[in-house]
């Protein structure tokens, strides 16, 4: 068989779907971590806060595009039969129903986050924020979809990327929880910079 014929025999759609899926997990995890960084007000490597926010938003939009590619190639791929609706409606796929349902749910929640973010000015902060919390549910669904829908975890660097992404997200979540606990304390007693300067040991005034 000639090289060209061999290449044309490759299941392109399937490959692109798998590859884009892996990239999407990494990207989605990055967006997630950046989202938490935005909330915590961290400056990543002296990158100012507004840049963190912008990056979070930009990569989120990019991942929508990548998601479209991932979903479309999975549906269009002739090897397995997946209907268009399976991309957004859980419990409707025939091929690997659990795995695809998880993916569809992740997409649904992500869509809610996306749409509310696009109209956040009109929606007002409170409602936008309430829906945005769904992101914390969307990621685990996407992660479990990756584990159950793909066959590639035996490849060492795929597993590394997947578990690496998972670890990054887990660390970010821990950070977020610690931040909440600390800021609750601070509301009652945020340190007064001048008092810290002025009070010396002799007075022992609370700082």
């Amino acid at each position: 068989m000639s090289a060209g014929a061999a290449v044309s025999q490759l299941p392109w759609m399937w490959l692109v779907s798998r590859a884009s899926g892996l990239m999407l997990l990494v990207l989605f995890s990055t967006v997630f971590v950046l989202g938490i960084s935005t909330r915590l007000g961290t400056r990543l490597r002296s990158m100012p806060r507004f840049a963190v926010t912008e990056l979070h938003r930009t990569l989120a939009l990019f991942s929508v595009a990548l998601l479209a590619l991932h979903g479309a190639t999975a549906v269009l791929d002739p090897y397995v039969s997946i209907g268009w609706w399976a991309a957004v409606l859980p419990f409707t796929a025939h091929y690997r129903p659990l795995a695809l349902s998880l993916g569809a749910l992740a997409v649904d929640l992500g869509a809610a986050v996306l749409i509310t973010s696009l109209v956040r000015r009109r929606l007002g902060h409170r409602w936008w924020r309430t829906v945005h919390w769904l992101a914390y549910a969307s990621w685990p669904l996407a992660f479990m979809h990756s584990l159950s829908a793909g066959n590639d975890m035996s490849i060492w660097w795929v597993a590394a990327l997947v578990w690496g992404s998972g670890s990054a997200v887990a660390l970010a979540v821990v950070d977020r929880i610690l931040f909440t606990r600390q800021s609750r304390k601070e509301t009652i007693q945020r340190p007064n910079p001048a008092v810290r300067r002025a009070t010396s040991a002799q007075w022992g005034v609370r700082s």
């Binding site: 509301t187 945020r190 007064n192 001048a194 008092v195 300067r197 002025a198 009070t199 007075w203 005034v205």
Partner: protein, 428 residues
């Protein structure tokens, strides 16, 4: 001689002693509806007549009546603003009296509730209000209920009245805080957003007026602008209730004609009980002014150079420590912040802490204090930080000598006990 002439005549006979437009001459008994109608007659209203409404509002404008709750905003202008808007407005009578040392609203509601209720009814007729909500301090809610019961028995009023007990706390008396309290049960200011006259309770135009202002309003409606202006100063006409507290022989609530010599005003309370160094004018939120200069000045905003606020005058003894007193007051004011914005939540406690350190004679960076006071101004969600800033600046000015002493670690006051009753619990 008409009843009003009798009232004012007694005032002129006794010099500046007692004026009885708002408070009865027998101060221990509340004025019953029968006695009230006996003295003033029924308040005649023609709510359906636009001509009457125009004429009455015009009269109120001519009288130059301004709010007696502290902001001193023109009552006539407020009424005009409400006349301009469509929709059934609300009238809210504000008797919260969040200022802990002020007593005048409570005394007025306890002794002359019908003057306030008349004024509220008149305001409601003028603006076409659907309902009048009386927000009153819990100490006098019974009196107000009783007065309303008297009126209902003879179906005196056409507009519906409702009594709501006011929330505790310093900021609870602010206009938007009262609206918030009545509507959502949360007594904090709404921020600098819409004016109450445009969008207040339930999104409808709302007239929020201090109870004393309403009492004056009712009287102007009866007797006219010329009568109102017979007492008081040309630019600040009429009378007002003042609470004289602190180092007085007989502290209490008194009615004065604005522009009276300040020393005469203080005499109403028997004068100072001990030599005084300063007066705190307006309230805990108010401004310190040196006693020597103030005593000979007319008791008015233009005369004293400071706003009269809610009419509280605290006499501060010469033996006292102004720095200590200011530190206590500011700590109280900081504790009373609604906590809605950064400058109040963090700036005020920091400033309070600095002042406490100064009061204790601990070395501090004085520039931090003055810088923070400058920084909180205009940066709050409501007017609270501005009032505190003004208070502190006046204190640092009036007690400047004492401040320098403290920064050097000394205190020249002989009496270090506080003379002001500051509530120790930040309640809201």
């Amino acid at each position: 001689m008409s009843s009003t002439e009798l009232l004012d005549q007694r005032a002129s006979n006794e010099g500046t002693a007692r004026i009885h437009r708002l408070l009865p001459s027998e101060p221990w008994e509340p004025v019953t509806l029968a006695a009230h109608l006996d003295q003033h007659g029924a308040l005649v209203q023609h709510p359906s007549s636009e001509q009457w409404r125009e004429a009455t509002v015009g009269e109120i404008e001519r009288a130059g009546l301004v709010g007696r709750g502290g902001a001193a905003f023109s009552t006539g202008r407020k009424l005009r603003a409400l006349l301009a808007h469509r929709g059934r407005p609300f009238v809210i009578a504000n008797g919260t009296e969040g200022e802990p040392a002020s007593m005048k609203d409570r005394v007025l509601l306890a002794r002359s509730p019908h003057l306030v209720l008349d004024g509220a009814a008149l305001a409601a007729s003028l603006v076409g209000a659907a309902e009048i909500i009386m927000v009153v301090h819990r100490e006098v809610s019974e009196s107000v209920d009783a007065a309303l019961a008297e009126r209902r028995r003879i179906s005196l009023d056409s507009t519906k009245f409702r009594v709501v007990t006011a929330a505790d706390g310093f900021v609870a008396g602010e206009a938007s805080a009262v609206v918030n309290w009545v509507g959502r049960g949360v007594p904090i200011p709404l921020g600098k957003a819409p004016r109450m006259t445009e969008r207040g309770r339930q999104g409808r135009p709302t007239l929020v007026q201090n109870v004393e202002t309403l009492a004056h309003l009712g009287l102007v409606g009866r007797y006219g602008a010329d009568w109102f202006r017979q007492l008081g100063a040309v630019d600040e006409p009429g009378t007002m209730l003042v609470t004289l507290a602190g180092a007085f022989v007989t502290p209490g609530v008194f009615e004065v004609a604005i522009g009276t010599r300040t020393s005469d005003v203080l005499e109403l309370a028997g004068g100072p009980s001990t030599p005084i160094q300063a007066l705190l004018i307006g309230g805990y939120f108010g401004t310190w002014t040196p006693a020597s200069a103030a005593l000979s000045a007319p008791f008015s905003a233009s005369g004293l150079g400071v706003g009269l606020g809610a009419g509280l005058v605290v006499a501060f003894p010469a033996a006292g420590c102004g720095v200590l007193e200011t530190a206590r007051l500011v700590r109280y004011l900081a504790s009373q912040s609604a906590g809605q914005c950064g400058p109040c939540k963090f700036g005020l406690p920091a400033i309070a802490e600095q002042l406490e350190l100064v009061a204790q004679g601990v070395p501090v960076r004085y520039e931090d204090l003055t810088r923070w006071v400058d920084e909180i101004e205009g940066r709050g969600a409501c007017g609270h930080p501005d009032g505190v800033a003004r208070h502190i600046r006046s204190a640092l000015d009036v007690f400047g000598h004492e401040v320098s002493e403290h920064l050097a670690g000394r205190c020249s006051a002989s009496e270090r006990r506080s003379s002001l009753a500051v509530p120790t619990q930040g309640v809201w």
